[in-house]
C-alpha cells in the first residue's frame, strides 16, 4: 500500500497554544536539502485574514495547500483554517470541511490518523505545546501503525496539557525539549539519505 507513493518520509506536527515559537525555530533550522515531507496542524481562528505560513516560515517554504495537491519530498504544508487536512496513500492532500473534532478544525487527530493509515512506518508524529488533548489519539494511531512519536517535554511547553496527555496515555513515545526534537528530525533525515534506515 504505502509502497506506491513517492513520499518516503512524512513528518506530521501538531500544536496549539505555545507551539509557534517551536515551529519558528524548527523552520529556521531545517536545511534546504531536508527531504522529508512536513505537515503542520495548529489550531487557529477561522474566517480571518492570516498569513500564518509566512509568519512561521519567512523563507516561503511553508505553504497552505489546495485540495488534491500532490505532496513533494521536502515540501512543507500548513493545514488551512477551517479545513481538516487528510492525506491519500498516493501522496495527494485531501481537504475536508466536516464537523469540528473536539472543537477544532483543523483537527490534529484527523491528520495524524489519516497519515498513520496511509503511510504507516514512514510517519513521524510530533506533538508540541497545546492547551487541549487534540492529537493524542492520532499519535496513538501513528504508534500502532509502526510510526515514530516525538512529544515536547511538558516542562518546556508554554501549555503542558497536550504533551502531558500524550505522555500519560501512550507508550512508545520519545520526550524531548524543542531543540532535541529539531535535532532528531534533521538527524533522521540524514540517516535516511545515507541509507541507514529503511
Amino acid at each position: 500500500m504505502s509502497g506506491q507513493s513517492h513520499i518516503r518520509n512524512l513528518v506530521v506536527i501538531g500544536g496549539s497554544m505555545g507551539s509557534f515559537p517551536v515551529l519558528l525555530a524548527l523552520f529556521a533550522s531545517l536545511p534546504q536539502e531536508y527531504s522529508a515531507t512536513v505537515i503542520v496542524v495548529v489550531h487557529r481562528p477561522k474566517n480571518v485574514k492570516s498569513q500564518l505560513e509566512q509568519m512561521l516560515c519567512p523563507d516561503g517554504r511553508l505553504k497552505e495547500p489546495d485540495d488534491k495537491e500532490i505532496m513533494q519530498p521536502g515540501g512543507f504544508y500548513l493545514a488551512p483554517q477551517n479545513y481538516h487536512l487528510l492525506v491519500e496513500p498516493d501522496g495527494t492532500i485531501a481537504l475536508d470541511t466536516a464537523e469540528t473534532i473536539n472543537y477544532s478544525r483543523p483537527s490534529i487527530d484527523a491528520t495524524f490518523l489519516s497519515a498513520a493509515t496511509a503511510f504507516g512506518t514512514r510517519v513521524t508524529g510530533v506533538l508540541l505545546s497545546g492547551a487541549n488533548k487534540d492529537g493524542v489519539e492520532g499519535l496513538g494511531a501513528i504508534i500502532s501503525h509502526g510510526g515514530r512519536a516525538l512529544v515536547q517535554d511538558p516542562a518546556t511547553a508554554m501549555s503542558a496539557i497536550m504533551p502531558g496527555a500524550a505522555i500519560e496515555k501512550l507508550d512508545g513515545i520519545e520526550v524531548y525539549a524543542p531543540e532535541e526534537i529539531i535535532t532528531a528530525l534533521i538527524k533522521s533525515d540524514i540517516e535516511y539519505k545515507n541509507g541507514k534506515t529503511e
Binding site: N47, K68, L86
Partner: protein, 272 residues
C-alpha cells in the same frame, strides 16, 4: 473516539454499495470517505462487519448511511472576503443584465444562498435576481426551503456578515424562534431550492454566476473534471464561476477556458 477502517475495507464497501444499491462511491475522495465511515462506525458503536451485514440485509439502511457519510457543514458568509470580492468584482457586471441568474450547486442547508440574497439586496439587485440552489440531500433542502438556521450559529454568521462588509443590522434579516432563526421571507423569495445530483443529473438552465463551493473536495479528480464540465456548460457566455477557497481548476481539463478574476477568492470567468 475515532473509528478506523483500512483502504481494503473501503474498497470492499464501495464494491458492496455498487452491487447491492447501484450507487457509485468509487469517485468520492477516499481519505474523507474513509474518515466518515470510521466516524459513523464509532458513533453507532458497530463493527465494519456489522455495517456490511446491514447493507446487505436491510434495504432501508443505505439511504441512512448515505446521509451520515455526506458532509453538510456550512455557514452564512463563509469566507467573508470572498463575498467582498463578489461585491466589488462581479456584481457591477451582473448589474448590467436585466435578469440575473445564479446557481448554488451543493447549497446544503441554504446558508450560502441566503448570504448571496442578502448581498444582492444590499446592492439593489435582488428583485431582478433568480437564485437556484440545489443539493443532493433532501433533508438539507427541506431545512433550506423552510429558511431555518440554527440559532447558535447566528453569532458566527453575524461576525462573518460584518467582515463581509455588510452595512445593515443583521438581525433585521431573521427572526428568532426557540433554538433556531428563520430567514425573512423577503430574502428567501427569489430563491428556488431543488434536488439536483451533480454526478448523475444534467444542465438545467443557463447562469451568469455559478457557485460550487466546498463540494468538489469530496470528489476525486476524474469526477471533479466531469462536474466542472457540467458547471461550465451551465454558464452563459462570459459567466462567472466561484469554487471553494482551497479548490482548484488547475487540476482539471477546463482550466484554459477561464480567466482568473480573483485568484485568492477563487473567482473565474469564462473567456469570450
Amino acid at each position: 473516539m475515532m473509528g478506523e477502517i483500512s483502504d481494503d475495507d473501503l474498497r470492499e464497501l464501495v464494491t458492496l454499495v455498487k452491487s447491492q444499491h447501484n450507487y457509485d462511491l468509487g469517485n468520492y475522495a477516499a481519505a474523507s470517505l474513509k474518515r466518515r465511515v470510521g466516524r459513523y462506525l464509532s458513533q453507532c458503536g458497530i463493527s465494519f462487519f456489522e455495517l456490511k451485514y446491514r447493507l446487505t440485509n436491510n434495504q432501508d439502511f443505505f439511504p441512512e448511511l448515505l446521509e451520515a457519510l455526506s458532509v453538510n457543514v456550512t455557514e452564512m458568509f463563509r469566507d467573508p472576503f470572498f463575498y467582498r470580492a463578489l461585491k466589488e468584482k462581479v456584481f457591477p457586471i451582473l448589474a448590467t443584465y436585466p435578469v440575473i441568474k445564479i446557481w448554488h450547486a451543493g447549497c446544503s442547508s441554504g446558508e450560502e444562498a441566503f448570504s448571496m440574497a442578502i448581498m444582492l439586496k444590499e446592492a439593489g439587485l435582488l428583485h431582478r435576481s433568480r437564485i437556484y440552489a440545489t443539493d443532493i440531500s433532501r433533508e438539507m433542502l427541506e431545512r433550506a426551503a423552510a429558511g431555518i438556521v440554527p440559532l447558535h450559529a447566528m453569532k458566527d454568521n453575524t461576525a462573518n456578515y460584518i467582515s463581509a462588509g455588510g452595512t445593515e443590522d443583521f438581525s433585521e434579516y431573521y427572526s428568532a424562534r426557540y433554538d433556531y432563526a428563520i430567514i425573512s421571507q423577503e430574502i428567501r423569495k427569489q430563491i428556488i431550492f431543488s434536488q439536483h445530483n451533480l454526478v448523475t443529473d444534467y444542465v438545467f438552465n443557463e447562469f451568469q454566476l455559478v457557485c460550487c463551493r466546498n463540494v468538489l473536495i469530496y470528489f476525486n479528480r476524474p469526477l471533479q473534471d466531469n462536474v466542472i464540465g457540467l458547471l461550465t456548460q451551465s454558464l452563459a457566455p462570459l459567466g462567472f464561476l466561484a469554487i471553494g477557497l482551497k479548490e482548484s481548476l488547475q487540476f482539471t481539463s477546463h482550466y484554459a477556458k477561464y480567466a482568473t478574476v480573483d485568484a485568492q477568492n477563487k473567482i473565474f470567468r469564462l473567456r469570450g
